[in-house]
Every structure is written in structure tokens, then in C-alpha cells.
């Protein structure tokens, strides 16, 4: 990491840490949503950006994390967020490991369709097995029943929502930072470099003796775990989990995050997820034709900003730098 990048990251972190001090409960909770979604995008992009595999079924892992929390609370009476994270990760990892075995044998559109079909199977299960999952009513995960930090922090009584948000924001921020750091290490490790080599030229990588299948499967697994973690952190914010989050449009949203921010960039999907979160909320608030608005924005973005917001900004910055150098 060069110095400039480190300085930028530190600056962003400081700004993020100061948000609750300046923004009210509403903006803070909105950003909390954004950060959880960013973790999902981070995981998704290990596959798309670094391995070259487009998953159209990442709703499965997001939903697996959320449902794991809800089921643990419902049937085992668990309240500890740390236990939820542990259990949810185990559950989404198991699912990603299983689905990964099936999916990574294929690439391109076949990979996309296979991931889509499997996520739809999961959606049907959540929808149909209502005596376990609550069907379309979903399962409730009220934050008032939650404890954080091994039971040290809980949120009973009046005005609990504001207290919950002001604490939970930092909780999510810490997990988010850990995730970003971990993913940074992963993509810059030999493992990450190998993934990129496979993405750029599968044949060459194979000739070099890389066991492509195994690398892709591992990437799939890690990707699923990150997205599952996002689902785990998201569910107390939403207060319940319904089959909607397993349905294919949710997968579409995750793809949207990455393309919006730019998936050839490490930070692109993170920015994309946060911006999409605002975009969606304000589009729905602005007009009953929010679908038209989102659709039009999507079309304009992919047509005119193929590198995404971060990618285009980086390009612009470089051009600017070159000019600066030329004039110097």
C-alpha cells in the first residue's frame, strides 16, 4: 500500500468514525445499512473482479447469514451477536462450500445461471417450508432482544432505537474495517495473485501447474462467507428476514453494487454498495416510478461509465496527474 493510499484510507476512516457525532440517528442507520451491504459487495467482488466469475446467486449467502441468525434466535433462544456471527459464518460457509463444488466447474454465463438456479432453490425452501421459516411472514430478529460484546451491551426500554444505532454503527464499522483489511490481504497474497492470473488467462495458469478448480472453489467459499457476514449484520437492522432477500433481484442488486462502483477496483464495490443504498432509498422516497428511475440510472451508468464511479474517478485523476506532469 503506498503512502497516498494509506493516508486516504485513514482519512476515510476518521470521517466514518465521526459520522454519528454530526449526523442524526436516521443518517447513521442509513450508513450502517450501507456498510453491511459493502461487506457483501466486497465478498462478491472477489469472484467477479479478481476471479472473473459472475455470480447471479449471491442472495443465497446473504440470505443464509440472515436466516441463520433468525433461526438461532427462534429455535435456540440465542441473543448474542457474536454467537450469531459465528453460527452464521459456519452456515454460509457450509452452503458456499457445497454450492461452490457444483458451480466452479463452469465459467461465464453457465456459472451465472447455475448460481442463479441454486439460489432460487434456496428461496423456494424458505418460501415453502413456512412451518420452519415462517414463509412470507419471515422470522423476526428484534434488536431489543440482541446483546453485543458477549452480553455487555443490550438495548431494553424506551428510546432504545437511537441507542442501538449509535452503538451498532461502530460495531458494524469495526467488522467492516476488519473485512476490508482481510480482503486487502487476500487479494494481495499469492493466492489472490493466482486468482487474477486465472482470470486473465486460464490456459496459461493451467500450464503453470495451477489447480484452477481448487482456487476457484476457495475464492467462492471466501466470497460466500463475506456475503453471509453481511446478511448476519443486516438482519438486526431490518428487524426480520423474509424470502425476499433470497430472491433473484437481491442478487441483481449485489451485482449492481459492484458495477456501480467499478469492479476492477478494490474499493469500487464498497463505494458502489454505499451509494446504491442511498440511491434506492431516495428513489423510492422521490417517486412512485422509482423502478423507472433506478432502471434509467442503471442503463446510463453501464453505458457511459463502464469503469464504475471509482474506476472513472481514478482514470480522471490519472489524466489530471499526467497533465500536471506535462505542464511541470
Amino acid at each position: 500500500m503506498n503512502r497516498r493510499r494509506a493516508a486516504l484510507a485513514a482519512f476515510v476512516l476518521i470521517v466514518l468514525a465521526l459520522v454519528p457525532a454530526f449526523a442524526g440517528t436516521y443518517q447513521t442507520q442509513l450508513l450502517t445499512y450501507g456498510l453491511t451491504l459493502a461487506i457483501a459487495a466486497l465478498g462478491f467482488n472477489l469472484l467477479l473482479g479478481y476471479t472473473g466469475l459472475l455470480s447471479f446467486g449471491h442472495s443465497a449467502y446473504f440470505g443464509a447469514g440472515a436466516y441463520a441468525v433468525a433461526l438461532m434466535m427462534r429455535y435456540w433462544g440465542i441473543a448474542s451477536m457474536e454467537l450469531f456471527i459465528l453460527g452464521g459464518i459456519v452456515f454460509s460457509a457450509a452452503l458456499a462450500a457445497l454450492f461452490g463444488v457444483v458451480c466452479v466447474r463452469h465459467t461465464r454465463i453457465f456459472f451465472a445461471i447455475l448460481t442463479l438456479a441454486l439460489s432460487q432453490v434456496l428461496w423456494t425452501l424458505a418460501y415453502k417450508f413456512f412451518w420452519i421459516t415462517g414463509g412470507t411472514d419471515g422470522l423476526r430478529v428484534p434488536f431489543s432482544k440482541l446483546t453485543l460484546l458477549g452480553g455487555l451491551v443490550d438495548f431494553p426500554g424506551a428510546d432504545a432505537f437511537a441507542r442501538f444505532i449509535s452503538f451498532y454503527y461502530y460495531y458494524v464499522l469495526v467488522v467492516f474495517c476488519v473485512c476490508v483489511a482481510l480482503m486487502w490481504l487476500i487479494v494481495h497474497s499469492p493466492f489472490g495473485k493466482t486468482l487474477q492470473a486465472i482470470r486473465d488467462n486460464e490456459t496459461r495458469a493451467r500450464f503453470l501447474g495451477v489447480r484452477i478448480w481448487r482456487y476457484r472453489w476457495l475464492a467462492f467459499l471466501v466470497s460466500g462467507i463475506f456475503t453471509g457476514l453481511a446478511g448476519i449484520l443486516w438482519v438486526p437492522l431490518n428487524g426480520l428476514t423474509t424470502p425476499d432477500i433470497l430472491y433473484w433481484p437481491q442478487s441483481g442488486k449485489i451485482v449492481f453494487f459492484a458495477v456501480l462502483g467499478g469492479f476492477r477496483n478494490f474499493s469500487g464495490p464498497i463505494v458502489g454498495a454505499v451509494i446504491f443504498n442511498y440511491l434506492e432509498v431516495y428513489a423510492i422516497a422521490a417517486t412512485e416510478y422509482w423502478q423507472l428511475m433506478l432502471g434509467a440510472i442503471l442503463i446510463i451508468l453501464v453505458t457511459f461509465l463502464p469503469a464504475g464511479i471509482v474506476g472513472s474517478a481514478a482514470r480522471l485523476g490519472e489524466r489530471f496527474k499526467r497533465k500536471e506532469r506535462a505542464s511541470a
Binding site: T136, G138, D244
Partner: protein
């Protein structure tokens, strides 16, 4: 046989204190108190009152949400034309689309309260959404009058001790029970039941309560066929053929909106309506003109939250006549039960504000308004509506009737002689009846109450 049938019919109706035919509403023609304006007490700010309203503005459920939105807007325009609430505060409404999904609705309600600072939240149609939004409304302390989203689970389980949340419409379990009473009254010989329900909690609720009530009313009934099409299904031919193959006496159908339109069009051409009686819970629930003149007569046409614009009749309940006229003038269409629900919700709030103002003066705080909402009664277009204090649930008489084509309308309406009006207390659990457990396999308090207290009619 006809005589025997007549006796059975009378005995059911007597059991529930229900009435048949247009003579429903007992205390007809109460003078409308709304016009008797009382001077507001104290200083009233003239700041606009902000209302949030989430309803289906897109997708197949727009057929329900659209009329709801129009009912809300009509009430708002009327109140504002009189100078606003307490003569001072004009109403402004922020609308948002319920079709964006449950999680987006949760976010939007928070935005409405925390960012826009709404004073009142209304709307919500899906019975999947009220149990999600009820707890959010409670935690945000935003006074909420749901106009639908009628699942029993809202106050049975999701918000068992409501403070800020109220609901104007009847509860869901009343749908199945009303359809059962209607079916048992009109077709007492029916024994073999087929069911066609949308595959989600509403459909399961209708099925459970219909079968339960039919078992009590007409002993020896059996379910011979079940179909559970997914919401949004348009091809029903395989379901229809399956139903035909079971040779039932009566079909109970909870499919609604565009699904129901597609269903009846296909069922008609497959001769389904000639081979069995059909009892629905929501056939006349959308915008009335969505159903065509080709819709068969003699179908028990449910209206879910118990309002169809021709009932109560103009002579007996002038409030309804005038509502329908104003609604038609404004929107060039007839109102649905959602229109009545949204319209009434806003007037219910207005009435509570006025009463609280008389007691405390100035603009009353939410606690005072809530106190006036609990146990409140109002003369709504649909009839008299009262809000139970124990569970914040609005109750009005349940109604259903047989479809008929009358001249003067481009769509079928109710046959006045066939309308059944049932006092709601006869078909729903009384106050303080134990709530079911939290498990989602636990049935409703109403089902439990029916099981334990309804006598089983003597076998015919």
C-alpha cells in the same frame, strides 16, 4: 327441501345475530356528527401535519393500493378544504410504494419518521408487511393507523401490546369465517370443499378458518381438493381442471386482484361455475370495474375488509351514499374497501384529535390522541366502526353477498337480497381471549376461540 333449507338458513343467521338482505344495518341513518363543528380550544399551530402513507402503487397489488391512495387523498382534500385539522393544520402526505419490498418499507418508514418528521403513518396493504412495520412504528413512536395488512398475527404476536399502532380494517380470520357463514347460509347442502388459495400466509389463513367454521356449521364437510398457486399466477387451467376432477360442492377461493381476474376468465370457459358453488373472500376487493360483466352471477363475492360501495344502502346509511358520490366525482370510479379503509383512517384520526383537543386544549400530544382512539367509534361509509382498546384493532360488521349484474353498472355488484351482515363480535375472539404463542405454527386467537366455543350444528 326448500323449506328445510330455509330453516337451516335462518338458524345460522340467528346463531350469529346476522341479517340477510339489504335490511342489515340496524341503527340506520344515525345523524352524522362530523358536521357539528365544535370550536377548537387553545392555541393551534398552523404548521402542516405530515402524514406518511405506504401502499402498493406498482405491481399486481396496485389494484388494491390505488383505491386506498385515492381514499386517503379524498379525505385529506376534504379536511384541508375545511381549513385543516382543528381548523388550522393542513394535512400533507408523503406517499411511497409498498411494492419496493418489506426491507425497503422498513427503511422508508424510518426515513419518514426520522428524516421527514411525520406525525402520523397510514396505509400498508400486505399482511406480510404490517408485522414487519408494526414493531418499527412502536420503536419509532410514530402513531400508526394501518388501513389493511389485516393478519391476525400483527396484534396476536408481532405487537401483542400495542401503544402507537392501530388498524382500521377487520382481522384476516374474519374473511374465512364470513365466507363460511355465507356459503353455509346459501348452500347448506354443500359437503365437499375444494380450495384455491394464494400460496402465502393470507391464503393459508383463509383456508384454515373457512374449513374450521364450515366444520362447525355443516358437520360432515370434507376437503376434497387443495390448490396453492403462487401469488402472481395467471395460468389457472391446470388448477381448474384439478378442482373439476374432485367434483366438489363448493370452491373457496382467496385469490385476488389480477390473479382473480385471470382465474374467473378461465374458470368461466371451463364451465367451473356451472358445476359447483364458488365462495370467495376477495373477488370484489379491487377496483370494482376490474371485474367484467362476464363474471357469473351467484358467486359469493367477498370484500375482505367488509365494504362494497352499494352497501349499506343509500336510504339506510346516507353517509355511504354521500361518500360514494364524492369519491366518484373526484376519481370517476367507484370506491373499494381500501378506499373506505384509508378514508376512514384519516377521519378517525381527525375525530380523536378533536376530542383530545376539547379535553386538553391546544394541539394534543400523541398520548392524548391515543387515549381518544382507544375505544373510539366512528360512522364510516361502511357502517359503524369501533376500535377495541385492548388490541387497537378496528371492528365493523362483516359483510358478503352474491354477485349479480344490475343495469347501470359496467361490472357485477351484490344482489341486495343476498347480502349477509354479521356482527363482528360473533365471529372473532372476545377481548382478553388468550393470545396464541409466538410460534408461527400457532394458529390465531380467533381459530382457538372458534374451536373451543362454537357449538357444532346438528348433522342434517
Amino acid at each position: 327441501m326448500d323449506k328445510e333449507r330455509g330453516q337451516e338458513r335462518r338458524s345460522f343467521l340467528k346463531q350469529f345475530g346476522a341479517t340477510l338482505g339489504a335490511a342489515g344495518l340496524g341503527a340506520a341513518g344515525l345523524p352524522h356528527s362530523a358536521n357539528a363543528a365544535v370550536k377548537p380550544k387553545g392555541n393551534i399551530p398552523d404548521k402542516a401535519l405530515k402524514v406518511g402513507h405506504i401502499t402498493f402503487l406498482t405491481g399486481p397489488a396496485e389494484l388494491l393500493g390505488g383505491p386506498g391512495q385515492r381514499g386517503h387523498v379524498l379525505a385529506q382534500e376534504e379536511i384541508n378544504a375545511q381549513g385543516g385539522l382543528l381548523g388550522k393544520r393542513k394535512i400533507e402526505t408523503i406517499f411511497a410504494d409498498e411494492a419496493a419490498g418489506t426491507d425497503a418499507n422498513v427503511k422508508e418508514l424510518r426515513r419518514m419518521k426520522l428524516s421527514e418528521g411525520i406525525n402520523l403513518f397510514t396505509g400498508v396493504i400486505s399482511s406480510g408487511n404490517t408485522p414487519a412495520l408494526g414493531p418499527v412504528a412502536e420503536e419509532l413512536k410514530v402513531l400508526t393507523l394501518f388501513n389493511d395488512g389485516c393478519t391476525d398475527f400483527l396484534f396476536d404476536k408481532a405487537v401483542p401490546n400495542p401503544k402507537y399502532t392501530f388498524r382500521v380494517t377487520n382481522i384476516q380470520s374474519a374473511d374465512g369465517v364470513t365466507a363460511a357463514i355465507g356459503a353455509a347460509t346459501h348452500w347448506p347442502k354443500a359437503r365437499r370443499i375444494a380450495s384455491l388459495q394464494p400460496d402465502y400466509s393470507y391464503g393459508r389463513n383463509v383456508f384454515e378458518h373457512f374449513v374450521l367454521a364450515m366444520g362447525k356449521l355443516l358437520p360432515g364437510t370434507e376437503v376434497v381438493s387443495e390448490s396453492w398457486p403462487k401469488l402472481g399466477t395467471t395460468d389457472f387451467t391446470s388448477h381448474i381442471t384439478k378442482i373439476l376432477s374432485a367434483k366438489p360442492d363448493v370452491l373457496v377461493a382467496g385469490v385476488w386482484g389480477g390473479d382473480y381476474v385471470a382465474f374467473y376468465k378461465q374458470a368461466l370457459r371451463y364451465g367451473l361455475f356451472d358445476k359447483m358453488k364458488v365462495a370467495t373472500t376477495l373477488a370484489f376487493g379491487g377496483t370494482p370495474h376490474a371485474i367484467g360483466k362476464d363474471h357469473p352471477e351467484g358467486v359469493l363475492a367477498g370484500v375482505h375488509a367488509n365494504y362494497h360501495f352499494l352497501y349499506p344502502s343509500a336510504e339506510r346509511w346516507p353517509i355511504n351514499k354521500s361518500f360514494v358520490e364524492r369519491y366518484y366525482k373526484r376519481w370517476k370510479e367507484y370506491p373499494s374497501f381500501e378506499s373506505d379503509g384509508a378514508y376512514t383512517a384519516l377521519y378517525l384520526y381527525k375525530q380523536a384529535v378533536e376530542k383530545a383537543n376539547q379535553l386538553v386544549g391546544g394541539w394534543p400530544d400523541d398520548d392524548a390522541i391515543i387515549a381518544m382512539l382507544e375505544g373510539a367509534g366512528i360512522d364510516a361509509p361502511a357502517g359503524y366502526l369501533y376500535v377495541r382498546a385492548d388490541n387497537h384493532q378496528g371492528y365493523k360488521d362483516a359483510v358478503t353477498g352474491l354477485s349479480k349484474n344490475l343495469p347501470g353498472y359496467d361490472f357485477p355488484v351484490w344482489d341486495a337480497a343476498s347480502i349477509i351482515s354479521i356482527p363482528i363480535r360473533s365471529i372473532t375472539a372476545p377481548p382478553n381471549w388468550p393470545k396464541p404463542g409466538q410460534g408461527h405454527n400457532e394458529s390465531t386467537a380467533a381459530a382457538d376461540w372458534i374451536k373451543k366455543t362454537w357449538p357444532t350444528a346438528k348433522a342434517a
